[in-house]
């Protein structure tokens, strides 16, 4: 269970203004919101990459910010994070990048073959051909491939919780579908708790148990996909309409 309690964060101006949210264990939760409203900031607070000015985040009852170093290390070990722009290590090849996703202690204990097997499997899961990409460095990959390697790195450590920052933005429709399928499969089969920030409203609504919309630093909406679609809230409706228009435009431009 992830629990955000009254999370505030300001940079030059207030970004998060009191976010309260509770995501149950095993739940697949989608977070929508316009660009620049602090979705990435909220995700980063979950594993202590950004410290809130006020409030706290708890993971399975353990405070991320007041639990001390050990608690934070445990949280980071349990959580896999998919960065918006992949954030691959430029100087490592794909194999070493994905390897870094395995917790340090485990990496030392596991036999080499087992590590290789897990890396291989992770790359297959994100629809990449391991034998093709393993030796390449990130600058030799396309944006979409980098993104998928980043996902592979986040899942190879078998996390209990996955935080996805726009995992399908910039992917072609086939890979978008593959990643969405992967997200639901991880949640169904392995009971991974997932929090997915996405601009793909249809995809998000289709796979998630509950959704929320972040707007101007607070949660504007939180509920089931059906409630979201039926919401009378003007902001929510405007957001759905705009996203639909953008999606239509995107499909149009692809034809």
């Amino acid at each position: 269970m992830i629990r955000y309690r009254n999370v505030h964060k300001a940079f030059d101006y207030p970004v998060l203004r009191g976010v309260d949210l509770r995501i149950e264990t095993g739940e697949l939760f989608a977070l929508f919101g316009p660009s620049g409203t602090g979705k990435s900031v909220l995700l980063k607070t979950t594993i202590g990459l950004i410290t809130p000015d006020r409030g706290d985040v708890e993971l399975d009852g353990v405070s991320v910010f007041f639990g001390g170093k050990k608690a934070l290390a445990d949280v980071r070990c349990k959580v896999g994070y998919v960065f918006q722009n992949a954030a691959l290590f430029d100087s490592f090849n794909v194999y070493d990048n994905v390897c870094m996703g395995i917790p340090e202690a485990e990496l030392k204990a596991l036999p080499r073959v087992e590590v290789a097997r897990r890396v291989w499997r992770a790359l297959e899961l994100v629809n990449l051909d391991p034998s093709q990409v393993m030796g390449k460095i990130p600058s030799e990959l396309s944006g979409g491939m980098r993104k998928r390697v980043g996902i592979g790195r986040a899942i190879v450590g078998r996390p209990e919780v996955l935080l996805w920052d726009e995992p399908t933005t910039g992917l072609d429709p086939i890979n978008t579908a593959a990643i969405e399928q992967l997200i639901s499969r991880l949640s169904d089969e392995l009971k991974v708790t997932s929090l997915v920030v996405t601009h793909d409203i249809d995809g998000g609504l289709a796979i998630s148990d509950r959704v929320a919309m972040l707007d101007q630093g607070t949660l504007r909406f939180c509920g089931t996909p059906d409630e979201f679609r039926a919401s009378e809230d003007q902001k929510v409706q405007a957001f759905i309409d705009r996203a639909a228009a953008e999606a239509a435009l995107a499909t149009g431009s692809q034809l």
């Binding site: 980063k44 990459l49 980071r76 960065f83 290590f89 870094m100």
Partner: protein, 271 residues
């Protein structure tokens, strides 16, 4: 609902402005000092707990050290030649000319060798580290290390600082040696001072701790350059523009620090 109320700021007057500016600069200085201190401490802890990968240190040693040897040879010999020529001009007939040997050796070993080598390394090594780490910050690679439970201080900062502390004394020793040699040749060519006389003069005023002094300076500079460049790199904000800005600031910061530390050495060590 938030409303924006425009406020007309009253000009606080030049004196208040000056104090506000000075206060801001002072607080920035304190902030940097604190950041550098805590970074240094974390690196010490990581090193003592053997959390630093030996291979990373070797790699950094190679990048900083071996690849800097050519430029250090050039600056070292130029330092010797310039001092020798300059000293040659200022010699009067009342002075025994072997004094030039002492002048060149002392200037090269105590000042020119360490300072010029350090300044060269600010550009060659310091700027590179800041830009490299800054790029890693803005592309979220530092966040990625942390999200994977790895410590950027252990993986990135410590190898660079350890390598710097080892590399700079070695490079300064090289610079000192070629500086003396080049100075001796130049003395021979410009004022016709023979090598024996040059070395006689050099020995006459040589203290055994001169070399120690030179290498201590090198050690301090070798700590300051990577420490400041890592510190600045990790503070980078914004995109590519931010990387450019911090790199420039880091170069200024390192250069000034080298010169200030250099000025603090004589009162601290020569007494």
């Amino acid at each position: 609902m938030s409303t924006f109320t425009p406020t007309v700021a009253r000009d606080p007057g030049p004196l208040t402005r000056w104090f506000a500016g000075a206060g801001r600069r002072a607080s920035v200085t304190v902030e940097h000092a604190g950041g550098l201190g805590s970074l240094f401490w974390k690196i010490v802890v990581a090193t003592v707990r053997l959390r630093v990968n030996f291979r990373d240190v070797v790699e950094q040693f190679f990048i900083m050290g071996i690849q800097s040897v050519p430029i250090v040879l050039v600056t070292g010999s130029l330092a010797g030649i310039v001092t020798s020529q300059q000293g040659g001009y200022q010699m009067t007939s009342a002075m025994p000319n072997y004094i030039l040997g002492s002048l060149v050796v002392q200037t090269v070993v105590l000042e020119m060798g360490p300072v010029l080598t350090a300044i060269v390394l600010v550009g060659r090594v310091g700027a590179r580290i800041t830009a490299e780490l800054g790029t890693m910050v803005v592309s979220e690679q530092i966040d990625a290390y942390q999200s994977l439970g790895r410590d950027p201080v252990e993986l990135l900062a410590a190898p660079r600082v350890i390598a710097g502390v080892i590399v700079l004394p070695l490079l300064v020793a090289i610079a000192d040696a070629v500086g003396i040699f080049a100075g001796m040749l130049a003395a021979n060519l410009t004022v016709g001072l023979g090598n024996e006389a040059f070395l006689y003069g050099a020995r006459l005023f040589w203290h055994s701790w001169d070399l120690l002094y030179s290498l201590t300076k090198a050690l301090v500079f070798g700590l300051a350059i990577p420490l400041i460049s890592v510190h600045m790199g990790l503070r980078t904000k914004g995109g590519a523009e931010g990387v450019g800005l911090t790199t420039t600031q880091a170069v200024m910061f390192m250069t000034l620090t080298i010169l200030i530390l250099d000025a603090m050495f004589p009162p601290l060590m020569l007494n």
